[in-house]
Amino acid sequence: MNKLVLLSIEDEREVRDALLRDLKPFADAFRIESAEDIPEAEEVIAECEAEGDTLALLLCDHVLPGEDGIDFLIRYHQDHPEKGTRKILVTGQAGHDATIQAVNQGRLHYYISKPWTETELQDVVREELTEYVIEQDLDPLPYIQSLNGPKLLEHLSR
């Protein structure tokens, strides 16, 4: 079955593990992937798409070896505006200007500042994915339990 993919891009191993741990509640309904830099992320995305899965959500750190997170988010948005992928910046180090640029040019959906709390991260991911399912007009039933069920059902009834 085709799955929706959550991809977190984070170079520090402990932080990456923490992210994956907090994303566990979504593991039943979604495919969860991680990458340590942009080239690896692009490989993962290509691999997922080759297997028929779709990138629904990017959780991206800003300061990465090589290309910056914000630069990548902007590039990804401009290359694939039709995909509707939800983009979340998870960072403590992005400057004011870079963040504004990410919002304006990359259509950033959410900014989570490090350190995040488990509930905050899960709430944001849940709402962003709910929006994604509604915007892409997907069958909401597989996601009633892991996402915002009432909101998805309300959409279904309209």
Binding site: P140, L141, G149, L153
Partner: protein
């Protein structure tokens, strides 16, 4: 996307079978069946395979049936039919798409979509649920009555989604293992399925039955249908309520169902309320003014479009595919009855030996079983032409009305599996129930409903002179 045109291997087999089912009856000589009948037989067999397998969308099969009947058995048929056969005009098959029953249903869709657009369903639910208090058993009853009421006019699926959205937070707040979760999750789809029986516009199988009945020259008014269906639907609903409470009792003293909504008092909303009220009023008072429900059904279409309460967007948002699916069934029935296939099918069995009541039961049970695994509308589309053929042939002493009615009701009462109906799928998706809960409660409700409608309802109808 490539998936739009490529058929997976799983779909290829039914497609091939459907093609064979279509052409083989035309190639071989079937004793007692005229060429036109053979062609419709092929179309019918193909329809069975396509509607059961869903190798192509249900509405696509409906369109295909109309097209094939025009190509094969109309006065414009590509391959000549014997002169002795008076072929129906090709426009007769197209006419199924605008059959009066379809127009009645279109009116129903306008009301349902308007109710959703202006949140009338939620507001009604909020107001009507208040008197039921906070005890779990009364709340479940209230939810079931309101869900049934809404689904008499709105689609069972939309009603379930609306009500379930209110219930999910309650379910989430209950302690793990509380069986109230199960009765809350099951009561909504069950009530929606049962409520759909209540009016002609409640669910597509009703429209298919009504369309087939009127093809036989019988007219059933909105009110008559409600008189036949609603009291017994209500009994089944109450039985389902008691069943759920007993199978899955609550450990809670009280629960709080919080519905947030306010009445929309904008001008378009007010115009909609007036239109909807007027339409329902006219539907219920046909004996006073004599305007057929299918004509009244076009009133909200005209009023809402003229007042721009509904624009192009809303008109395009109508579930046309459901209407086309119903039309496919009406066209198939037309083909069966004009091609001589009906007489041949009936002639296959020595009906005289079978009591009419047993036959009525068989039809309803068959509809129940079939629509437990395939779509309710597809079930009605396939079975109603057969039921009507049986009844109108005179071979069996079963009224046309009852044959079609029992099949429609049987199809609506199928709720034993998550795949049985979209409302069941929604309930299952909440994770609050397991399949076995649905199988247990759903089979009992279905069986009780079929027994009640087939064996008790006709007695009461004739006592009260409700049957025309």
């Amino acid at each position: 996307m490539s998936s739009a045109i490529s058929f997976s291997a799983k779909k290829q087999l039914p497609l091939a079978l459907a093609f064979l089912a279509l052409i083989i009856p035309m190639m071989v000589d079937i004793p007692g069946l005229e060429p036109a009948g053979q062609r419709v037989f092929g179309i019918f067999l193909m329809a069975i395979i396509l509607w059961v397998s869903e190798a192509i969308p249900l509405h696509a099969t409906a369109a295909l049936i109309i097209f094939l009947q025009i190509l094969l058995v109309s006065d414009k048929a590509l391959f000549a039919l014997p002169e002795s056969f008076t072929a129906p005009k090709y426009s007769v098959f197209y006419a199924a798409l605008a059959n009066p029953t379809i127009m009645l249903f279109l009116g129903g869709f306008f009301l349902a979509d308007g109710a959703a657009k202006f949140n009338l369903d939620r507001n009604l639910a909020r107001v009507l649920l208040k008197p039921f208090g906070k005890s779990p058993s009364m709340i479940v009853l209230g939810i079931m009555l309101i869900t049934a009421l809404l689904s008499m006019f709105m689609s069972n699926t939309a009603t379930t989604a609306t009500m379930m959205a209110f219930i999910l937070p309650v379910i989430a707040g209950l302690p793990a293992g509380d069986k109230l979760k199960i009765s809350l999750a099951l009561c909504v789809p069950f009530a929606a399925n049962i409520g759909g029986i209540g009016t002609p516009v409640g669910t597509p199988p009703n429209a298919i039955a009504l369309g087939a009945i009127s093809e036989q020259g019988l007219q059933i008014s909105f009110l008559q249908w409600m008189g036949l269906a609603l009291p017994f639907a209500l009994i089944v609903l109450l039985a389902a309520w008691q069943l759920l409470l007993r199978l899955f009792p609550s450990s809670q003293k009280e629960i709080d169902l919080n519905i947030q909504s306010t009445f929309d008092t904008s001008k378009p909303a007010m115009l909609f309320y007036v239109t909807a009220g007027l339409t329902v009023l006219l539907w219920l008072t046909e004996p006073l003014h004599g305007m057929k429900s299918s004509i009244v059904g076009f009133l909200p279409v005209v009023l809402l479009l003229a007042t721009k309460v509904f624009g192009v967007k809303e008109l395009q948002g109508i579930q046309w595919h459901v209407l086309w699916l119903v039309a496919g069934g009406i066209a198939l029935g037309k083909g069966v009855s004009t091609s001589g296939l009906d007489a041949w099918l009936i002639g296959l069995v020595k009906w005289g030996a079978i009591p009419a009541i047993l036959l009525a039961f068989t039809l309803a049970l068959l509809a129940l079983v079939m629509s437990t695994v395939i779509s309710n509308s597809a079930t009605a589309n396939l079975l109603i032409p057969i039921g009507i053929s049986l009844a109108s042939s005179g071979a069996v002493d079963i009224p046309v009305l009852q044959a079609a009615f029992f099949i429609a009701v049987g199809a609506s009462l199928a709720m034993a599996l998550p795949i049985s109906t979209p409302p069941n799928a929604i309930a299952y998706s909440t994770g609050a129930i397991e399949t076995k809960h649905m199988v247990l409660a759903g089979s009992i409700v279905g069986a009780v409903g079929v027994l009640l409608f087939v064996f008790v309802a006709p007695q009461v109808w004739s006592l009260l002179h409700l049957i025309p």
